[in-house]
């Protein structure tokens, strides 16, 4: 989710955010800046941190300056991402910057609130002693006493306006985290501006698996076209930088295949987990995704459980006989209906490997030759 979307969500739940608006074209900057009527900040909206260092954040005192700054930022590429939207906001008087987030701690199996009176930078760069981690018992939930104790540990007086406001912010942040199925809600920096406490930035990540019940949330596609096509097929695909295309069935064994290629000196072009029980047609579609990577060689590593070897072999045969493969393909095929699968492969003149390591070694050799 882009910063401006996160802030809209924050505002809906009553969290204090700077006044401002998103624009998709530099000319709009003048109107927004005029509307705000104060010096503004112009922030590129990309799904990446380090925007400031990359020049993706600028200030302007007048609408004219705002347009000029907006023109500069539009068209920038920040960490590989083109800037297509800007957020123009009032420039805050910043007295102090804090850090505040809630995320899932897998080891503790519960949410964790992370807070620091030293915000504005990556939390990893803050000294451990200045970081407060407060796990939230999911059956107990968030209560004012927890928020108050966090504020106390941050060294902020509970009696003052900032302390009281942060107590409310913490509770609201947890409400957003829970109600919106977030994996992460982060405010960095959370700023003191005179008596006010304002979320100067927002980062919200929604759990993909919960999108079915969060249909009102804006959705930002963060995947590449190939990754998205795979997702639509029910597969898990990640683009990588090597030249050996990989398909395997299961996340662990796919990682293992990648590692084995690396062990033999090769590099995978992708991660493609075709899952369990994927049938002939989806497997064929998956193979097309591999071909589109234009690899030097290809490895198919199937240990059939629910996945049936004959279905994989048929998909291979379909592609070989229709589009064809632009590079050598190595197949390792064992498990459910192994014999049937190998018979089908034999029909198109392919012999399967028994062991993953042998197949991987061969794929690396072929890629080196290509």
């Amino acid at each position: 989710m882009f910063e401006y979307m996160g802030k809209e969500l924050f505002a809906k739940f009553g969290l204090p955010v700077p006044s401002g608006r998103m624009i998709t074209n530099p000319e709009e900057a003048a109107a927004v800046a005029a509307e705000i009527g104060k010096p503004v900040v112009i922030k590129s909206q990309v799904l990446s941190g380090k925007r400031g260092k990359a020049g993706g954040i600028k200030f302007a005192d007048t609408p004219e300056q705002a347009v000029a700054a907006a023109k500069e930022i539009f068209g920038m590429i920040i960490q590989g991402l083109p800037v297509e939207r800007l957020l123009i906001e009032e420039k805050l008087k910043i007295d102090k910057e804090l850090y505040m987030s809630i995320t899932v701690d897998g080891a503790a199996k519960m949410p964790v609130l992370i807070a620091s009176a030293h915000g504005g930078m990556d939390i990893e760069e803050v000294d451990e002693e200045f970081i407060i981690k407060q796990h939230i018992d999911p059956e107990l939930g968030m209560h004012p006493f927890i928020a108050r104790d966090v504020v106390r540990r941050m060294g902020i007086p509970l009696s003052g306006p900032h302390g009281k406001e942060i107590v409310k912010i913490i509770q609201t942040l947890y409400r957003i985290f829970k109600q919106k199925d977030a994996e992460l809600v982060e405010i960095n920096p959370l700023v003191f501006s005179d008596d006010k406490v304002i979320a100067a930035d927002s980062k919200v990540t929604i759990d993909d698996d919960a999108l079915f019940r969060q249909k009102d949330l804006p959705y930002v596609e963060e995947r590449s076209a190939t990754e998205k096509a795979a997702k639509d097929l029910g597969l898990s695909f990640v683009d990588l930088d090597g030249n050996i295309a990989v398909m395997a069935n299961g996340a662990g064994i796919t990682m293992g295949t990648l590692d084995t290629l690396q062990y033999y000196g090769g590099a995978a072009a992708n991660f493609l987990d075709c899952g369990g029980g994927t049938g002939r047609e989806a497997t064929a579609e998956a193979l097309k995704l591999l071909i589109a990577k234009n690899p030097k060689s290809m490895i198919i590593n199937i240990f059939g459980g629910i996945t049936r070897c004959d279905q994989v072999a048929l998909a291979f045969k379909d592609i070989k006989e229709s589009v064809g493969f632009p590079c050598p393909v190595v197949i390792r095929l064992v498990g459910t209906n192994q014999d049937l699968g190998r018979e089908i492969l034999a029909e198109v003149g392919v012999e399967a490997f028994d062991f993953m390591q042998d197949a991987a070694k061969k794929a690396v050799e072929l890629a080196a030759q290509g």
Binding site: V104, G106, A107, K109, M110, P111, D122, E124, D137, P138, E139, K178, D181, E183, D207, D209, A210, F212, R213, S236, V238, L240, D241, A248, N249, G250, A251, G252, I253, T254, M255, G256, L258, D259, T260, L261, Q262, Y263, A267, A268, F271, D273, G276, F303, G304, G305, I306, V334, G335, T336, F355, M356, Q357
Partner: protein, 289 residues
């Protein structure tokens, strides 16, 4: 002996009348699992592979003694199904379903903890006490009785390694799938403690992957174990920030790296295999076979 489940475990299949539920009910029965009942709300009275389906876990429990349940209910209803089993007092709940929202996982795991139930998964292949009982989806043929306990995050990689073990004459006491999600009910350390106590388990294989810190935490316990542990960690070649299929398999902010896990395991006295096929050899070496 075996851990968590054995030949006397009475199993309930939740979502038994669905496509997956029906298929795996047959597979599990074929393996020898003592399935006594299933659930399928609104389809109570149906019979799948000779096993009666009930409208609710309570109704099933009123008619049968249930020790463990395996959940094949779609993701949107998985939390409800798991809570239902736990609430009814079922002691072991194996959640095969993948794609369960993480907030649902947190809720069911918290409730299981409060009620003292063991949850495996979500997104687990299941558990096999070799030759005795299988709950979940692994292929039947590779799991034979023997002295090795196996605990893993992911399925096919486990079949690969179990296949290697079996091919090398090393059967398994129990093979436990914890699930590939960020939040799962049972982690390495829980299972290692059970293997340490199980008299039939002579050595343990830990199949980890990048992301999280479960392997590092487990290493602390491995230091104190009397039994040899062989580890394998998938994801050495995975770049940071890319989620490798499993929700938990991601190197974030420099944490959960391959290197860190291997170092932790090695420092704890475990041997770490570079490639899956090396696992049986290392086990034999450590057992002096």
């Amino acid at each position: 002996m075996a851990i968590i489940i054995d030949e006397n475990t009475n199993v309930l299949v939740m979502g038994m009348t669905g496509r997956q539920g029906t298929f795996h009910t047959k597979q599990m029965l074929d393996y020898g699992t003592k399935i006594v009942a299933g659930t399928s709300p609104g389809k109570g009275g149906a019979v799948v592979e000779g096993i009666p389906a009930y409208n609710s876990v309570r109704e099933a429990c009123a008619n049968h003694k249930i020790d463990a349940s395996v959940v094949f209910v779609p993701a949107a209803g998985t939390k409800d199904a798991a809570l239902e089993s736990i609430e009814a007092g079922v002691g072991v709940v194996v959640v095969v379903t993948e794609g369960v929202p993480v907030h649902d996982e947190i809720e069911m795991v918290a409730y299981a903890k409060r009620r003292g139930a063991i949850v495996l998964g979500p997104n687990t292949f299941g558990i096999v006490s070799s030759g005795k009982c299988k709950m979940g989806i692994p292929p039947n043929k590779y799991f034979v009785e023997g002295p090795v306990g196996v605990v893993a995050r992911s399925g096919t990689l486990t079949y690969e390694i179990v296949g290697n073990l079996t091919a090398n004459g090393l059967g398994q006491t129990t093979v436990v799938g914890m699930g590939g999600d960020r939040v799962v009910g049972t982690t390495f350390i829980d299972v290692l403690q059970m293997f340490e106590k199980d008299p039939l388990t002579k050595a343990v294989v830990l199949i980890g992957e990048i992301g999280g810190n479960a392997e590092e935490t487990a290493s602390e316990y491995i230091k104190t174990m009397s039994k040899p542990v062989v580890g394998y960690i998938a994801g050495k070649s995975a770049p940071p920030g890319k989620r490798m299929g499993h929700a938990g398999a991601i190197i974030e902010r420099g944490k959960g790296t391959f290197q860190g896990k291997v170092e932790a395991l090695t420092a704890a006295g475990a041997k770490v295999a570079t490639l899956p096929f090396e696992v049986p050899g290392l086990i034999k070496e450590m057992l002096g076979m």
